[in-house]
Amino acid sequence: MKCRLLENKKINNDYYLLKFSREGINSEFQPGQFVTVKLPEILPGQRLGIPISLYQADETSFTLFIKILGEGTRILSHVEKEMELDILGPLGTGFTLVKNKTVLLISGGVGYPPLWYLKEKLEDCQITWIHGGKSKSDIFPCDHAYTEDGSCGEKGFVTSDLKDILKNQKFDIAYSCGPNPMLKAIAQILKEYNVPLEVSLEEYMACGIGVCYGCAVQVISDDKEALYKRVCKDGPVFNANEIVWET
């Protein structure tokens, strides 16, 4: 599907907001779902679509929130208004939406965007959002911010004061997105405190629609043989208890 860029907004040197027209896309956009974006030109090692979570969506548009990591995202950050890009989506299985709950959101770095869209869709919930990153430029609006270098918010990680927060407040459910080691640590802590957790995972993807089985994540299985699910189709959102975290 060709999607026209309506706006490219620079947030800081690393992060950009890309707003696209959703003309022609009828299926609704769920928080936790993603799209794959193809670059406008053929570049070495950059022919597969780039998976990007939904940051926002309405009747006429959807917005992506990208961090420049390598060549592909760097080029995306340069895409100009009115340009049309090949986009597939919305793809995958999103977060479970709840109402009237106390909700904990925990994001790391570029794990922020899917939770933002989730937050918008949670009705009448009391939300606490913990967000962390390497440094100041990785921090966005939230309740508790952490940076590894202390340049913004508390110095430390999203898990630094997590237990205290959990002691002081009871949460019905938690949602998290970020690097795997962070998710693994969070999953362990929330388990102790019996807070159900949904995590949004990342894996290298080819098709993005469930046919190639390239984006495997190991999940708990009853028989002795390992069991892998597809992040692009069965996920990217999974119940944390399902995941076999790499050690």
Binding site: K38, P44, G45, Q46, R47, L48, G49, D86, L88, E203, Y204, M205, A206, C207, G208, I209, G210, V211, C212, Y213, G214, C215, A216, V217, Q218, E225, A226, L227, Y228, K233
Partner: protein, 298 residues
């Protein structure tokens, strides 16, 4: 002009099909399966296979590395869940299967033979043969010959043997398959490849050695198709880096009767439909047919 083509026992409305493992019913939202010349499904095995640990994929400069490890739900689940979906389409269904012993190959085929809607089989012999020190079936002419004859006895449907290019002499293997009773041949499966992150020394793929596909391998695929077509007179289902109608023409000239699109599906899930349309225009413009150009390289 019409685009029709044939393998030994099957006729197709056009020469475009899907490469095993790069296609699934999940693509129905993006592609009209009835437009395809044929459907080739992902390789299945007797029992479910877990597949390999991640990372399983890496996009190299000019191709794709994969190490899926034949993850599949097993033949029973396939027949229960996938077959009914494919039965909704008129397009001939070619089922790819594999195994680690010839016994198991036969068991899977026997089970598949109970399904009428299957038009033919693509036998994936690129996987390790536990009866032969884990060496792939497909690299040994004698093994391929014996396996083919065993399977031949079990079915009258189109029996396609899919060859691996990672051999010294693919022509010898192709002949062995033909003499074993293969109706036709499919080639090529992935090349062996590898990639390393130069900054960390970490292999890009968990299993390190993996399968290499995509545009980068097209010249190798063409060389194999041409050599086999010159030496063996049974139809060829060709694949390896084809991603547009010009590539398809190359394979037809080299000797292919049918061309499968693989990795390119990942760049665009609708690509096969687009290629068929382009091919139709090309054939009309120059009034060509598959017969007119097949194997006619100058």
């Amino acid at each position: 002009m019409n685009l029709t083509t044939k393998l030994n026992k099957l006729e197709f409305k056009n020469p475009i099909t899907t490469a095993s493992g790069t296609f699934g019913y999940e693509m129905a939202d993006y592609l009209d399966f009835n437009k395809l010349g044929a459907i080739v499904t992902k390789t299945i095995t007797k029992d479910r296979k877990a597949g390999n640990p991640s990372p399983r994929l890496y996009e190299t400069e000019w191709g794709l590395l994969n190490s899926i490890g034949l993850q599949n739900p097993g033949v029973e689940a396939f027949i229960k869940e996938s077959i009914p979906i494919y039965e909704k389409y008129q397009t001939p269904l070619i089922v790819s299967f594999s195994a680690s012993t010839s016994e198991e190959f036969m068991e899977v085929l026997t089970r598949l033979e109970t399904v009428n809607s299957i038009a033919g089989y693509e036998v994936n012999v690129s996987c390790p043969n536990v009866e032969n020190e884990g060496i792939a079936f497909g690299v040994d002419a004698k093994v391929v010959n014996e396996l083919t004859s065993k399977l031949r006895k079990l079915t009258d449907k189109e029996l396609i043997i899919k060859l691996t290019p990672n051999v010294t002499n693919i022509v010898e293997i192709a002949k062995a398959a033909k003499e074993g009773g293969a109706d036709s041949l499919a080639l090529i499966n992935t090349l062996l490849g590898m990639a390393i992150d130069p900054m960390t020394g970490k292999s890009r793929i968990n299993k390190r050695i993996c399968g290499y596909s995509g545009s980068a391998i097209k010249p190798v695929a063409l060389a194999n198709v041409y050599r086999v077509a010159q030496a063996v007179d049974i139809p060829i289902l060709a694949m390896g880096g084809a991603e547009n109608y010009l590539d398809v023409l190359e394979f037809l000239y080299a000797g292919a009767s049918l061309v499968a699109i693989g990795t390119a599906n990942f760049y665009n899930p609708n690509i096969t439909e687009e290629i068929i349309a382009d091919l139709q225009n090309h054939f009309d413009k120059y009034n060509l047919s598959v017969d007119k150009i097949r194997g006619k390289v100058l």
